[in-house]
Symmetry: C2
Subunit: 339 residues, 2 copies
DNA sequence: CTGTTAGCGCTTTCAC
DNA sequence: GTGAAAGCGCTAACAG
């Protein structure tokens, strides 16, 4: 089953004009007489002519397609990024070719190969957790296909990165807790092989040191899931570790911590104040609503797409940029000890 | 900045063959001598030749692109559907062109226009909440572009639908509550202008009637968000309405109900048992974990894509199908009154 | 003002 | 075995 479309040729034949005349009439070329234009446009309308973009792509060597490679569409954050990308793309006449790596290097490599074959005009990518080699992305660069990374960037590849201010966000969160009178702030940290998580830890540490508190290694605990958050909180309580606040590397871990604290009958924020990272919708679903560092995926998507467009439209290679979006602390009940 | 690719012509010139010979050699055509094939393939490899898919599309009148139109990428359910679509598409050599309607009819119309222009080989769509006219989809059909709807279907358009068994899911949930000894089951219902929500209400009603309980209109309340779920629960309690269970049209509403119940110091499930719909991740984040009707977006995406592929590959129009995927009740603590 | 021609990259019939 | 030529749909330089 395939649809056969009306072409410029059909119009030309019908009207007895040449295809070039029709083509020009359709584009409102000044050379063409008004009468001809009218005739052509009317018939085009009537026949529901639409130009074949594939033929145009072939001619223009441009597909108006942007390849988008994300680890998982189902992550809320990435979904918002895609949303931002889509909006800007749509406004500029581009469509998205979406591929997901499912956090696997092999699928990521395939995805890159696909977008290359697909002759996209540019690529936006966020690397999978597994990715440890960047040859596939380098190939894109070698082919001079504009490439912009967002969120999870490949440091080795010399191109524009759009990230969020993880350090700053963590710093604000920690400083806020200190301002609320907390003295022993636990940090539930993510895997330190990823820059993004190192930055959050460093922001936490810097905030402590800049505000008269000591960094205590025993208060930094590896935990980055709901279950681990709950488990480690229980453990800390059971071991009698003294703490009056938790800054978690993401909201799910914070949610886990909240569960454990409630079970242990600890009052939030009076006994233990809590701040997460990501500002996922869950922050508003739990009671008390918890504070979190907001990172706008939507904005990141927009920015990434805008930068990509600049590269696509530029004649020669633009200097690479490192765009860091602000991460804003949203304060809610879970960390408001002073009123 | 645009990359210039190696073409078949480059290889032909370099080797002194004609383009047709090179083309044939590349496809391992029997007419071509082994020697020539070797030469061509080696040079192709060396030059990193990849066929230009746009030229192929033009020739074959097929783009290997599938248009996907969803209300919002950020909804977890749709994200999982996309994931399922992507997997099947990828396995079959198709790529996705993703568009979102943002729940707006106007954007949906634009999206349909875009995929039509994009000469996709087929379209998968789920309609926006605003959609009340289906002309744009009808146009797709008129152009003989294969179209499959999933989840939110357009009843008026005669094409294959993939939906989940909303009636059956609601029926199981309600029956389960009855089995747990509940006598007065509240239903928080969604907008009744959408079939999907009517089906859930009907399933609830049927289960009551088949199991010796009366359907009481006053126990059916319009509420389909977290806030409304919380508010209406408070209201019911305040008004002294007698109920011992809530079956909510989605998990967020159930989460809202849970919040209100906890505030009112009602024990879940002893005082009020609770079942949601959708089996979103939130079911596991709240305490007690709550029961919900699981609907597999991933499977829906796969099925939709498979059906679309069948249509694309078929010579003539296939009969339309109404595929209904099972909705399975997942029982957790919130509704386990008997042990 | 309009038509002819070539070309984007590739496949495929028809010749030799 | 290999090449020439046409054609997919469209645009644009070049002719009239």
């Amino acid at each position: 089953m395939r649809s056969q479309h009306v072409t410029i040729k059909d119009i030309a034949n019908e009207l007895g004009f040449s295809v070039s005349t029709v083509s020009r009439a359709l584009k409102n070329h000044p050379d063409i007489s008004e009468e001809t234009k009218r005739l052509v446009n009317e018939l085009a309308e009537h026949l529901r002519y639409t130009p074949n973009p594939i033929a145009l792509s072939l001619k223009n060597r441009s597909s108006s397609m942007i390849g988008v490679i994300v680890p998982e569409v189902v992550h809320y954050f990435f979904a918002t990024v895609i949303s931002g990308i889509e909006d800007v793309a749509e406004r500029n006449g581009y469509s998205l070719m979406l591929m997901q790596s499912s956090e696997q290097l092999s699928k990521e490599v395939t995805a890159v190969a696909n977008v290359m074959k697909g002759r996209v005009d540019g690529v936006l990518a966020s690397v999978s957790k597994q990715t440890n080699t960047y040859e596939h992305f380098q190939k894109l660069m070698d082919e001079h296909i504009p490439l912009v990374f967002f969120d999870r960037v490949a440091d080795d590849v010399d191109t524009t990165h759009i990230t969020v201010d993880d350090f700053g966000g963590a710093y604000s969160a920690t400083k806020h807790l200190i301002g609320q009178g907390c003295k022993n702030i636990v940090h539930f940290a993510g895997p330190q092989n990823r820059k993004i998580f190192r930055d959050r830890l460093n922001g936490y540490r810097q905030a402590l040191e800049n505000n008269g508190l000591f960094f205590k290694p025993e208060l930094v605990v590896a935990a980055d899931t709901l279950d681990k958050g709950a488990f480690e909180t229980q453990r800390l309580l059971a071991q009698g570790v003294v703490f009056d606040a938790i800054f978690a590397v993401n909201d799910f871990t914070a949610a886990g911590a909240m569960r454990a604290l409630k079970e242990a009958k600890k009052a939030i924020p009076q006994d233990v104040a809590l701040v997460g990272f990501g500002d996922e919708s869950i922050t508003l679903m739990l009671e008390p609503n918890f504070s979190s560092v907001h990172q706008s995926g939507y904005e990141m998507g927009q920015k990434a797409m805008e930068h990509l467009l600049m590269q696509i439209h530029s004649e020669d290679k633009l200097p690479t940029e490192q765009v860091v979006l602000p991460a804003e602390l949203v304060i809610r009940e879970s960390s408001m000890r002073l009123s």
